[in-house]
């Protein structure tokens, strides 16, 4: 499966971003750089308690402060945050919003976590807004709280919602989500050995450099919202639904944004609070979240507990996989709380029971591959253990057991064997791996770890418009935002390639719902493949017009649009990857250093080699951070969050970072724009597992808890 792709003219060549100049000269305007005449500044007051009923709020003194224009609380601003309150993580469904029992408002009473919003102030100056917060008097009745998902399910646990702490499904059924494939009992009966292990994983923040913020501006009944958004069309629809407007009465604008990694999907509470304050004051309102607001307002990756039971025969064939999992969602449910990984295995007998549980930690949202990295860490840890116990090379064990295409479930193509083989050679796996884990003499021990993944690259509906004028300039309208990967450039390159013109002849208009058609949104690694397909289809239409009529002359403009919903003809379409890492563990200090990291990916045809490489490098480094450092810790006695910032959560710096060796195995499977597949999320999926397995190989100790901080390594070494 290594057939060479046909070389193309623009695609596949290193291409500087179309907006690179603006990014290096400070001219790029991010949301918080905007200023409108008469603009007010807003700040949010947040709960200091993990769980408390608000007895009384006195806003009189705050309201009297000169310069204060509005103070809003749960008493005078009851807006349901639909994207956040819906059961089952089904953020886009109006029907589910109508039936859900447990609603999240922009201000809640009771407050259910430290950082739950209590009030917001708009004032002529940000300092006045901050002063006003200090003048709001809130009388709380402090309630008992619970932080851990298993403890929250105990019969005598404090109830965060009247129905209890188990999250309901979309039909308001209060039961764990169960997936039961094959015959799990028969699978264990067929096993020669059964392995069991419990793992837990940390609470990881997206921590994008730009804190969430929003500038809301009403003109009559129409709201213009400037906000950093990973999906302006989705944000518009969510805002309209939550505020009771037609979609046509909301315009969402985002030209530059400072990262998100899932933290800016859908609409945010900042958007709704800013819009509500702007309505109350009849003025544009800029709501700026502080770093702590951003840390506590939403936290991407939910903490989990994963109890695995795996049956194998003595020849290393997996016969049964069972996972009993718990995900701590915080007090509101913004995502389903998945724990992925079982689907990587061909074993037909797979049972998964997943309980998403309310806790009094802050809300879990979305973080780059929301369900995968923690789950792949868990299952790849136990599979690694099994391989070593059976005396097998983990790579050999994987190749024997990984999911493969079948007659019933064909793939568009399958590159896992090729990725793994390429990585084994590039990394020199046989030389670096310790056949006996922990066998290095001395306190500083080296070891090597491996993990693999496949991740969805399915196609779906999106839109694009392209036009050409008599100057032979092409203008592409796509409703994408560039979170950081370079979507504007990628879309322009796809258009240029399809048109057969240089990229310099194509202008890309994006980031504005009034000017651009629907786009699927920068979540789920979908922009390149889905909106990219719409660009290809729109260009096809335009070229037919040009073929029929010649190029436009005078004032003529030819316009073409497309909203395709391509399928993969019943085949599974996946991107593939294999990671190999060597670590050096200082067993006296408990520190882990990455010495070599090789990431092999098959993501179809690569559009822009440079930005694609850096998507993988960045994702891997975030995954290493999740493996070794990052966690929102809570004080069990007080329910207070302790690591609400970059230093405290120990985010990686220039000095912590190894060089990541990224290699793409390019394939054109005949689907997607010129054969492109997903990239953005895939790189983070394997990193925590690969690092954890390398630490086992170095030390001989299995680390069952992420992040693998120094104290845990020292504890394991005894």
């Amino acid at each position: 499966m290594s057939e060479a792709v046909q070389p193309l003219t623009t695609i596949g060549h290193v291409t500087p971003r179309v907006d690179a100049m603006a990014r290096v000269t400070g001219q790029a305007k991010y949301t918080n750089d905007l200023k409108l005449p008469g603009m007010l500044y807003a700040r949010v007051l947040r709960s200091p308690h993990p769980h408390a009923r608000i007895r009384h709020i006195d806003t009189r003194e705050a309201s009297r402060l000169p310069g204060v224009r509005a103070v809003i609380t749960h008493e005078n601003a009851q807006v349901v945050w639909g994207a956040g309150a819906v059961a089952g993580g089904r953020q886009y469904s109006d029907a589910i919003k109508a039936t859900t029992l447990q609603r999240r408002y922009i201000f809640n009473n009771p407050v259910r976590c430290v950082g739950d919003a209590v009030a917001a102030v708009a004032a002529t100056d940000r300092h006045i807004a901050e002063q006003a917060l200090a003048l709001i008097k809130v009388e709380y009745e402090v309630l008992p709280f619970v932080l851990e998902p298993e403890a929250a399910l105990a019969a005598d646990a404090p109830r965060i919602w009247p129905e209890g702490n188990l999250c309901p499904d979309v039909h308001n059924n209060f039961a764990p989500m169960v997936s039961d494939l094959g015959d799990i009992a028969a699978g264990f009966a067929a096993a020669d050995q059964v392995f069991e292990q419990r793992y837990d994983t940390g609470f990881v923040h997206n921590a994008q450099l730009e804190p969430r913020c929003a500038l809301a501006h009403w003109q009559g009944e129409t709201l213009t919202l400037y906000t950093p958004s990973q999906g302006i069309a989705n944000c518009r629809h969510d805002m309209a639904r939550d505020l009771g407007l037609d979609d046509q009465h909301v315009r969402v604008v985002c030209h530059y944004m400072g990262g998100g990694f899932g933290n800016k999907n859908q609409n945010q509470d900042a958007d709704l609070i800013a819009a509500t304050l702007a309505r109350h004051t009849n003025a544009p309102v800029m709501l700026e979240y502080t770093r702590r607001d951003d840390w506590l307002g939403m936290h991407g990756r939910w903490p989990t507990v994963q109890q695995y039971k795996v049956g194998v025969t003595n020849d290393g064939t997996v016969t049964a996989i069972q996972l009993i999992g718990y995900s701590g969602m915080g007090p509101y449910r913004k995502n389903a709380g998945g724990i992925g990984g079982l689907e990587l295995y061909a074993c037909p007998n797979r049972y998964r029971s997943l309980s998403s549980v309310y806790t009094n930690r802050t809300t879990s949202g979305n973080f780059r591959a929301p369900s995968e990295p923690h789950g792949v860490y868990g299952i790849e840890s136990i599979m690694d253990d099994i391989a070593y116990t059976l005396g097998m090379d983990p790579v050999e064990f994987t190749v024997k057991n990984m999911l493969r295409p079948t007659a019933e479930q064909p793939f568009t193509n399958y590159s896992l064997d090729a990725c793994i083989q390429m990585g084994v050679e590039q990394f020199d796996w046989q030389a670096r791996r310790k056949v006996i884990p922990g066998s290095d003499a001395g306190p500083i021990k080296r070891g090597a770890g491996f993990s693999f993944m496949m991740f969805r690259a399915a196609l779906g509906r999106s839109s694009a418009i392209v036009h050409v004028d008599a100057r032979q300039r092409y203008t592409l309208f796509v409703g994408v935002t560039d979170v950081g990967p370079g979507a504007k450039t990628t879309m322009g390159m796809i258009a240029a390639e399809a048109l057969g013109v240089p990229l310099s002849q194509v202008d890309v208009v994006s980031g504005d719902t009034d000017r651009c058609p629907y786009s699927v949104g920068e979540s789920g690694s979908r922009t390149t493949i889905m909106t990219g397909m719409a660009v290809v289809e729109a260009v096809k239409d335009l070229k037919q017009q040009i073929a029929a009529r010649g190029m436009p002359t005078g004032n003529d403009v030819f316009v073409a649009s497309a909203t395709p919903s391509p399928t993969t003809d019943g085949k599974m379409r996946q991107c593939f990857g294999a990671h190999f890492v060597e670590v050096e563990v200082d067993t006296r200090l408990g520190t882990t250093r990455i010495t070599t990291y090789v990431a092999i990916h098959e993501s179809g045809r690569i559009i822009n080699p440079q930005t694609a490489r850096d998507q993988i490098r960045g994702a891997v480094l975030q995954g290493i951070g999740q493996a070794l450092h990052e966690d929102l810790l809570y004080d069990p006695a007080s329910g207070q969050p302790l690591t609400t910032g970059y230093y405290r959560a120990r985010h990686m710096t220039h000095l912590d970072v190894p060089t990541i060796d990224v290699r793409f195995l390019e394939v054109d499977d005949g689907y997607g724009p010129f054969g492109a597949k997903t990239i953005g999320e895939s790189g983070i999926i394997l990193a925590p597992a690969a690092v954890a397995n390398a630490i086992f190989n170095a030390t001989g100790k299995r680390m069952t808890s992420l992040p693998i901080t120094r104290d845990k390594i020292l504890g394991a070494m005894g």
């Binding site: 290096v24 300092h127 850096d614 490098r617 970072v657």
Partner: protein, 200 residues
């Protein structure tokens, strides 16, 4: 914006360029006893400074940070606020040639200073070699930390014209990039140095 009528009320008290941290914290309402000071107009100080070669005389509120002065009052929004508490260094600017966190410098402390921001790196529309290297090596992903990376690296190149990767990492250690594009940033700075050194 703000209340200009009370501009000089407190200027005579103490050293105008160095109010105490306590006074500053009270001024922005972060302490429980901010209530008492909340109703009084903020004190102001007239300062003069040079930003990107342009002289400015500004009547600043004593509680303004340097990054606020740059972004809100001099319309230089290239400098970003990532944390507002000296954790991320996105706001780094050069003050008399040295990199400082503009979020943790009071504007009044910049009185008499020569400040350079990301907007001052290009001359007559020509990018600095470092800016060009950032483009060539895809050093910005989301771009939010880019001004801080550029300014810190500019200070490094001014003192160490041809740094190696280890020197770049040490100099830029505090400038966080959550896109984690660290490899590309280091490659860009090393390349800019090599080019600069070669031309000298």
């Amino acid at each position: 914006m703000g209340d200009t009528s009370a501009a000089s009320s407190a200027r005579q008290e103490g050293h105008p360029t160095a109010p105490s941290h306590r006074a500053v914290l009270e001024g922005i309402g972060l302490t429980p006893d901010a209530t008492a000071s909340a109703m009084t107009a903020p004190s102001r100080t007239a300062i003069s400074l040079t930003v990107n070669g342009v002289n400015h005389r500004v009547d600043v509120e004593d509680r303004w940070t340097l990054v606020q002065l740059l972004r809100d009052h001099l319309e230089l929004t290239g400098t970003k606020i990532g944390c507002d508490r000296s954790e991320c260094e996105a706001c780094t600017v050069l003050m008399d040639g040295k990199p400082v966190y503009a979020c943790c410098q009071l504007a009044v402390w910049a009185d008499g200073a020569d400040v350079q921001t990301v907007e001052g790196l290009a001359h007559d529309g020509r990018l600095s070699p470092l800016q060009q290297a950032f483009i060539d090596h895809n050093a910005p992903q989301c771009g939010f930390c880019t001004p801080g990376q550029l300014m810190t690296a500019t200070a490094l190149l001014n003192t160490v014209p041809r740094p190696d990767a280890a020197q770049v990492k040490h100099a830029l250690v505090g400038v966080l990039c959550r896109c984690s594009n660290y490899n590309a940033i280091v490659e860009a700075v090393v390349a800019a140095g090599a080019q600069q050194g070669g031309a000298a």
